[in-house]
Structures are given as C-alpha cells and as structure tokens.
Symmetry: C2
Subunit: 411 residues, 2 copies
C-alpha cells in the first residue's frame, strides 16, 4: 500500500491515520492512499482565536492539479469571473454537497474555487480587537495557505478552514479534494512567495479607484441606503492596507484585468461605460497573449462602421506591446460596450490566440451568460478569454507532464 509524502508544517504534528483507498472527485482512476494528518490545535471557535480545526487528507494520484491564483479586492467581480471560468469547462459550480451552507467553495467537475478568506487567522471580532483589517497579512495564515495549496497541487486532499462571511466566525473545516484545476481567489494569492510559486497562472483584477467608487456608490448607496460620506470613509479606511498589501501583488500577475473609466466620453464619472485592459505578460510558459490583427505592433480599432453599428459613445479597441513593472507585456484594451451581444462574433473573428476550440466560442460563452454583470463590455469579454486561456494552459500542462505515478514510500 502506497503512503503519501508527509507535508510537515511547523504548526502541525503528524498524527496520521490511514483510510481506505478512494477515487478522487476528479477522475483519477488509480488506487489512492488517503493519509490523515490531524492538527493538534484546539478546535476553538472563540472570537479572536488564532487557530482553527483542520485535517489534511492526502489522496496521492498523479500530481496533475493546476493551480490558478486570482487576486482582487472584495466587490470587484471575482465571483462573476469564477462563474465565467467554470462555465468554460462546462459543469455548473456549486458549494460542496451536504456541507456548510456558508461554505465559500465552488466545485464543478473540473474546477474547485477556494476563497482565501478561509485562511483568515483572525475572525471579525479578533480583527477588531487587534485593530487590523482583513487585508492585513497578520489577519491571515499564510503558512497554512501554503501547506494546503501545496498539498492539493501534489494530489493530496485537505481539510480547509471556512471563514463564515455571515457570522464573521471561523467554522469547522471542509474536505477539499485535489481537482484538475484549483483556483485560489481572494485578497492575497500572490502575497506570500511560497504560495505564489505554486501558481501555474495568476490573474489580478485591478479596479481603478474611480470605478471602484462608482460601483460602491451604486451598490452601497442606491441598493443599501448608505450615505455618500460613509462610503467615502469606508474606502478611505481600506486604502492604506489595500495599497500596502493587495495592490503590489499585480506586479506578479501573468494577466491583469484593469478596469478604468471610459475615455470615449470626456470627463465621464458615471462609471457605467468602462475601459478595460487585459495586460498579458510575455514569456509565460503555456500562455500566448491574445492579439489584435498583428502580433507585437500597436493598433487601435474602432469596429463601429460599415459592419457594426454602435450607439454613442461607440467601441474602441487598442492593442500593443508595453512594459508593466519592468516586464514585457502585451495589452489589449476595450473601451465602450456592445449594443448587441450577438455582434460580438465580428469582434471575436479579429482577435487571435484566444484559445477557442471552435469559431465563435467566445461569443457563445458570452451569450450563454449574458445576464452576468459586464457581459456587454470588456470585463465580461476579457474574463471569458482568460477562462479559455486557463483551459488552454491546463491542457498544455497536462500534455507536457510525464504521467508517472508518484513513487510509493514505506510508512
């Protein structure tokens, strides 16, 4: 019987038990050993607790979990993005069956999305007590994050904590089996160098202050009745930690989706029409940046004209090489929005290296999810394209791996 490698951590002592061989959720059809490592921590759920209960469950199969990191502030459309991504793979993403109804995890046939808020080391009261925000690294357990992501990447199931967004408490853990594609989304997927190194591909959703402000006003003022002052104050309060701990991660991202105010309307501050940039790092293995018409040159394109009619203020695409935090990148930009989503095929047909499997797949995906926020602008378009690129990266990684099983070692 094969035994999985022990993933030692400073905070865990290895009290392992062997369960029955099982098949993972993922369709790895070889026999597997499940190896439990139970933490010696208290299972305390008291506020301010710095420890939480968890179990590492190891399902050694082929080490084929591809790990994707998605960083963004809260309220920036991560969940929409995740739904677009999982849709690319076909199956609907749902919380783990029969588990905590407040679980933040989404599981589909291919993809498991875990929310990094689950690695909060301080719950809401704890943070208040210590005077730190959730953005502060001191409110997060990067050791555990690293251990568990590494375990999953190595094909080992883990018992991941749950941060309950409703109660603000740390709930008992849930079992996460290694999926084909693991997406870790949240505030800090690229903050810790060890976690960052585990990522096969990383994305940063960069919402400009102007747009973030317009969105918060829309949501918190129009829908929740908050005052303009309180919204401003809450943004201001988050800003120092955001700037210190979240924003710097974008320099590590392989792809950045930057959401800015439109330039098609002079002095627009409504934040309804968006200019969205897809910044793609050059030289990333398995990732070939999308381009418009001619790879590597600088292009602007107003598709409105004889073939595509657009209402004011129209649509403008730009593409070209640039530099981003000292890296060579290609940038694709869309300003404006589509009047008719079915006309997207016209735009799609002029984009190259979008990793579709058939002509019109981007348009089909966008039409299928047309009720999702951002479906008529660059956020939806670029999220969909990034989803297709992730599928492509996944398939290339799998194809490139020699499929030798992990060698068994004696217990």
């Amino acid at each position: 019987m094969a035994i999985c490698p022990v993933y030692t951590t400073k905070s865990l002592h290895s009290t392992c038990s062997i369960s029955t061989p099982s098949k993972t959720h993922l369709g790895f059809h070889q026999k597997q050993v499940v190896f439990y490592t139970t933490s010696g921590r208290k299972t305390s759920k008291r506020s301010g607790s710095t420890s939480s209960p968890y179990v590492i469950t190891c399902s050694v199969g082929n080490s084929q979990t591809v790990v994707i990191g998605l960083a963004a502030d809260s309220g920036c459309g991560k969940s929409t993005f995740m739904r677009r991504l999982t849709n690319v793979f076909g199956g609907a993403a749902e919380p783990p069956k029969g588990g905590n109804p407040d679980s933040n995890t989404l599981i589909s046939d291919t993809t498991t999305v875990i929310c990094l808020d689950d690695y909060h080391s301080l719950d809401r009261t704890g943070r208040k007590k210590k005077g730190v925000t959730a953005l502060d690294p001191r409110a997060n357990d990067f050791d555990l994050m690293y251990e568990q992501v590494k375990a999953l990447k190595d094909g080992i199931a883990v018992d991941k904590p749950i941060y309950n967004h409703v109660t603000g408490l740390l709930d008992p853990p849930e079992l996460i089996k290694p999926p084909k594609i693991l997406v870790i989304e949240g505030l800090h997927p690229m903050y810790d160098a060890r976690v960052r190194d585990l990522l096969d591909f990383s994305i940063y959703l960069d919402i400009s202050n102007e747009v973030k402000f317009a969105w918060k006003i829309q949501r918190d003022m129009a829908e929740r009745g908050h005052s303009l002052e309180s919204i401003k104050a809450s943004i201001q309060a988050r800003k120092p930690d955001f700037d210190a701990y979240i924003d710097p991660q974008k320099q590590y991202a392989d792809a950045v989706i930057e959401v800015l105010p439109t330039q098609l309307i002079p002095d627009d501050n409504e934040g309804k029409i968006l200019r969205v940039k897809l910044i793609m790092k050059e030289g990333v293995e398995f990732f070939s940046p999308v381009y418009l018409f001619d790879e590597g040159s600088s292009i602007s394109w107003i598709p409105c004209g004889r073939k595509l009619t657009c209402s004011y203020p129209g649509i403008k695409f730009s593409y070209g090489p640039d530099s981003y935090f000292g890296h060579e990148v290609s940038v694709l930009e869309m300003d404006g929005q589509f009047d008719r989503l079915d006309e997207l095929i016209y735009v799609e047909s002029h984009l190259s290296s979008i990793s579709t499997k058939f002509y019109g797949e981007v348009t089909q995906q966008m039409l299928k999810l047309s009720d999702f926020p951002g479906s008529n602008n660059g956020t939806g378009l670029f999220q969909t394209i990034v989803g297709l690129k992730i599928r492509d990266i996944y398939e290339q990684i799998i194809a490139s791996k020699t499929k030798t099983p992990v060698e068994a070692t004696k217990a």
Copy 2:
C-alpha cells in the same frame, strides 16, 4: 473597307483622307482604317496664338482605350507617379520615337501619358500679354482637349499639339495613337465636365501648402539659388488661380493622394517626413478601395514593435471610413518613413485589396524604383498601389466589354 465614325467638332471641319490599314501600337490585331481629319486652323506658331496645327488620325479598332486622369499642380511629383505607373505594366516609357525632343508625351507598350499643358491655347508670351496664368482655363483649349481624348478613347489616333516647356511656344503636333491606357496628366483633367466624363478613373495629387512650400524651398532655394522672398511671392501669385481652378477638381477624383506634414514630430516644418493619405471613393465601378486589417472600421497601426524596428519618429498607419466632399470614402494614411525598404513586405502583407498579382508585388515595385523620390514614404507606396489599381481597373474594363468590332459605315 471600314470607315471610322466622324468625330465632329465645332473647331474642325472634316476633311478626311483614307490611309492604308495599319496595326496600332497596342497590339490590336484586327484590320483598321486610318481616317485623317485635317484642321482648317492656321499652323501659326506666333506667340499668343489661340489655334495650333493638328490632325486627327483615326484608327478604328476595338474601342478599348481606358482613360485615366491625373490632376496636380506643377512640381508635385506627377512625373514620378507616371514612371511608377508605367513600370507596373513592365515596359519603359519614352517620348515618341523620332519626334520633337521636347515632347511631353511618354509612351510605353501599354500606356501613353499625355501632358495637358499641350492644350494650352496661349503660349508663354500670349499668357503674359493677356495677363493670365497657365492655371487659368482661358489659357487652355478644352474643346480640343475633349475632342482628342474622346477620339483616342474611341480608338482614333490624333495629332496632338505640343507645348514646348523649354521655349514656351506651341510646337507642331505629334501623332498619338490610341493606347490601351491613356493617362492625361496636368492641371485640368477634371475641370471640363465633358473631359471628366471620359475618364474611367481619376486621381488628384493634393500637396498641402506646408509641404509644397518646403519642397519649393528645397528645389528653388537650395538648388536654384532663388530667394525665400521670391519663392513666397511666386507661391502667393499662383494661389488665387490654383484655388479657383485646380483645387476644386479634387472633389471629382476617384482617388486623392494627399501629402501633409508629419504628425509624429510636434510642430515639424521641415517637410522631410510626410504624412500621406490615400482617399478612395466608395462605389466606383471596377475600383475596390484598399483596406487595413478590417474593411470599413477605423484602425490605427504602428507597425514598429517586435517585428519591425523603426528609427525616430517611427511609422503610423491609419485607416477608416470618412466623408469627402459629400462622398463616402475610405482613407488609408501613412505617416513616417521606412528605414529599410525590404521590410515593406511586412506592411504590404497587412494591406488588403491592393490588386497585386503575386505576394510582395508592391514591395518588388518599390525596390525596383527605390531611387525614385518618395520611395521610403507614403507617396511612393500609394502611387505604386494606385498603379496596381489602375492595372486592375483596366483589366476589368476590358474583360467586361463585349469585344464586338465597331460597325463599319459607308463613306
């Protein structure tokens, strides 16, 4: 024996003589009747003469002469353009053999280029006497121009006057046989409605005042020792007539090549780096405008980048639909210049509808004539492309014509 139709004109009485059947210069291989019409005008060469000696020689073949009009001010690169055009058809263009050494005509296997200065009704002294410039319609014989262009278009050879640019006198006429392609180039090809209607395709070379001024300074000051003041004065003197009689013709042109100062260098007034626009009328029979990447949308393209290195200030192309004197047009623009002409293939490969017969034909043409002025910028590129379009138009017209011989009528 067939007799050609009589092309009556007010100024000519039809004293016709029949010569032996001959084959034209153009490779029409059917029997032809040559029909002389001798003018009753005096063969006076006195200055100020309003008549000139000419004979209409009619060679009735298939009426397959395609007529192209090229309008531009003097010193605007018409002759370079003509050499590029005739080169597209292969043969070298030369003045009529054994004729007046000061002839303005250029004849190649396919193309005959006649200079409309030959239709000056007033010679240099005559113009001075009457106080009119060569730009003034009163110094030009549009009746004769119309009659002779119509005759040539109908397959009838003409004895065309010669305006001697060296002496400023009207020289005895030269025989012009109907070519496959007749180009009439000069100040007024689209001024007279009757002449204009004979044109199968028309081009206007529009050199902006800034560039014209920079060119004149280069030529007249640097090369001929004129003073800046005298150059300015000469430009100013021409301007009213130019604005009244020459410039308005551009509204009739099927294609306009507009030469402007670069926008790549702020406040450039050297006139060395040019921004050149090719304005192409939509809906012209047999003429499909060139486009960049995507027909009918608006595009700007800086090809410099990963594949094409450019020195300062680089190269920028623009393309898009526009309106020009109330007509729908497509505009292709090139700002800047090529460092290496052989890299033009990269640009050529991204242009569509350029009517080449093989991949790289534009580049080959440009390389062949690389010592011509404008070979490294948009003037040479667009002149070459217009040359290819004219070849294409010619071939389409010929193909579309039912090749029934002109029906013979009894003398």
